[in-house]
Amino acid sequence: MMDWSANHSGFVIASYAMSIIFLAGLIVYTFNRDARARKRLTQFEKTKK
């Protein structure tokens, strides 16, 4: 088990926090982009009709 009070544990916490934030951000960005693209296509197809 990680010793959270050990020397330099702040560097470990910062690494994990940074990885989680950036990967979560990438997931959110990817889903948003996909949802936007599908919404635009649906709207376009509706106006075409």
Partner: protein, 239 residues
């Protein structure tokens, strides 16, 4: 294999596969983080700081793997002229750039307590930084050039020329004197890491790989949708 190059069939297959890929990704991350933060022992020299390895090394592996995927897709686009190959290369780049940035940033956070410096212009670090610049350059080409065919041609060349950097990154620690430690997993004679540290590292590597696969499939789907819309707008005379 030919059937997967058809965008409609590809989308159908991707939509079916995505829930399973997300489930596997979640399980692998849970297992990998448990191994990394709970079961793996501290290193006899580095202490708890060694745990940075479990997020740093998979990010670096994926940064190199994703660029290799981009180069292979670009080669397929040149040889077979299939537009889905360009889509695959284009959509992989932002994901690879994030992995590359994370490898550099977490490496810097590991370097400060171990080497006493956030950054050194060492062969491994410099070649990894060059990879990040290649990613940024590749993305900039697609953003800057409006005409898609021209952007694709230049992007393919950049991806194929830049792939030369991948073996340079891999072997930089052997070819030059480096502060960075030499390879300890993928090397002749097998891994030199103790099993309690090796398995969480491999599981995290797989988790990152599955995350890339999931994000890449969604990004390809978005790009196909965006291109379909663009083609419909052109057909209707809107653009």
């Amino acid at each position: 294999m030919q059937q997967f190059a058809n965008p409609t069939q590809f989308l159908s297959l991707a939509n079916k596969a995505l829930p399973t890929i997300w489930a596997v990704t979640t399980i692998l991350f849970a297992l990998g983080l448990y191994g990394a933060l709970v079961t793996a022992p501290p290193d006899y020299q580095q202490g708890e700081t060694v745990r940075i390895m479990f997020v740093h090394v998979p990010a670096a592996w994926l940064a190199m793997l994703v660029y290799t995927v981009m180069a292979l897709a670009s080669a397929v686009a040149i040889i077979f002229r299939h537009p889905l190959a360009d889509v695959a290369a284009k959509t992989a780049a932002p994901i690879g750039a994030v992995f590359c940035f994370l490898a550099l940033a977490t490496g810097s956070l590991w370097g400060k307590p171990m080497w006493g410096a956030w950054w050194v212009w060492d062969a491994r670090l410099t070649s990894m930084f060059v990879l990040f610049l290649l990613y940024v350059g590749y993305i900039a080409i697609w953003q800057a050039i409006e005409e898609p065919t021209r952007a694709a041609t230049i992007a393919r060349i950049v991806a194929l020329v830049g792939v030369v950097n991948i073996p340079i990154i891999k072997f930089s620690v052997d070819w030059w004197n480096s502060l960075h430690q030499p390879a300890s997993v993928f090397k002749m004679g097998g891994p030199s890491i103790a099993f309690p540290m090796l398995w969480p590292l491999l599981v995290m590597g797989l988790a990152y790989t599955f995350l890339f696969l999931a994000l890449h499939l969604i990004s390809i789907r978005s790009e196909i949708t965006a291109r379909k819309l663009r083609n419909l707008q052109i057909a209707r005379g809107e653009n």
